[in-house]
Symmetry: C2
Subunit: 210 residues, 2 copies
Amino acid sequence: MIKVVYYEDNRNLREGITFLLQATPQLELVGAFADCRNIQEEIRTLQPDVVLMDIDLPGMSGIEAVPVVKAIAPQTQVMMLTVFDNEEKIFQAIRNGASGYLLKHTPPSEIVEAIFDVHKGGSPMTANVARKVLQFFQQQRSAKTEDYNLSARELDIIKGLVSGYSYKLIADELHISIDTVRSHIRHIYDKLHVNSKTEAILKAMKEGLV
Amino acid sequence: MIKVVYYEDNRNLREGITFLLQATPQLELVGAFADCRNIQEEIRTLQPDVVLMDIDLPGMSGIEAVPVVKAIAPQTQVMMLTVFDNEEKIFQAIRNGASGYLLKHTPPSEIVEAIFDVHKGGSPMTANVARKVLQFFQQQRSAKTEDYNLSARELDIIKGLVSGYSYKLIADELHISIDTVRSHIRHIYDKLHVNSKTEAILKAMKEGLV
DNA sequence: AAGCAAATCACATCTTTATGCGACCCTGAT
DNA sequence: ATCAGGGTCGCATAAAGATGTGATTTGCTT
């Protein structure tokens, strides 16, 4: 049996989902609450396996509640169930430790399945939400198309910079003189259109050159 | 009608999925190939809406093929369909521009549904895959627990550094003298246990202090 | 009231970076 | 054979950053 606790302030919805979960074998709804006022005590005493969490709750928001749950019961999986599909809220929830993110229009059968998924170590997400998450990764490399054609040696040098080394250290590392390092760095600045170590490092990191 | 192209070297599987897709109204399978030898031409002439891509193909791997597809037809959605659920491959595929990632054990009905999802702008992912993606975000903030307790002003300063500004620029920006900036930076170095601008910036970025 | 940390500024000194101007060697392309 | 570009090195100067020492003010805690 998977023990589930549910937070949702809308009474109709709460009762609907409550009914759904109670009707599902192998799920045990051990609590359904309209706010997170007493969430610490509830989690501590009920020890749920899965928490279904709305976001727009009176008082403490569902997003703020996630780390509270994870602090008390780290193995408990928290799944957001909300109408918000904006990036800000999605990323906040994930960073706070949520393991799943469903939009409320999800059909009941999938909600139930998602509870099993999240309990098994998966991360069910509505496809829309997943797209936003993936875009985060993709945008990181979009600039890589822009080619600064740094030479192999120049890449060695800038890797050193990104590692936080001084010119002297890089010179030792690569067994070349410090003046050679300077020379390479000049060329790197030209190619990247920057004129300080810091800018070069930031650009290299952002553009994924290293 | 959604035009689909499918790459898969295993003949049995290819024929199975081919049959499945052909049997689905609103999907039009316009090509199924065992390798990516002629992928450029195939994509150009067939102009698919969705590409289903295996990873372990002879010659060019499915992961390498993704950017090729996106270069020719940026609006075409690529969905990986593979047995590999290791992080390395997942992240490579996503960074290369894949919009979905299903494991092969996915039931046929869900594969079909995923094709519609990905075409609508979603990113269907097997729950396991999604978990790995989410963990990437979560680990980024784990270090934030380590608290260097920088003051508000010190955070202003380090934000300036991370933006690539010189001491002078930061001083102007914050309407304080350059010596004050120096002073703050000394304190930041103490608190972060570093002793150069570069190290401070790298640490601040990695630990998500900014 | 005393103590303390944060924020402000100053001056001095030394190190690191940035940049200008050359130079030499090697390799692959014209 | 010449030329371009990468990689190597040197010297010199100017700008930026790192560090030592110390001082004043403000606001919060004890």
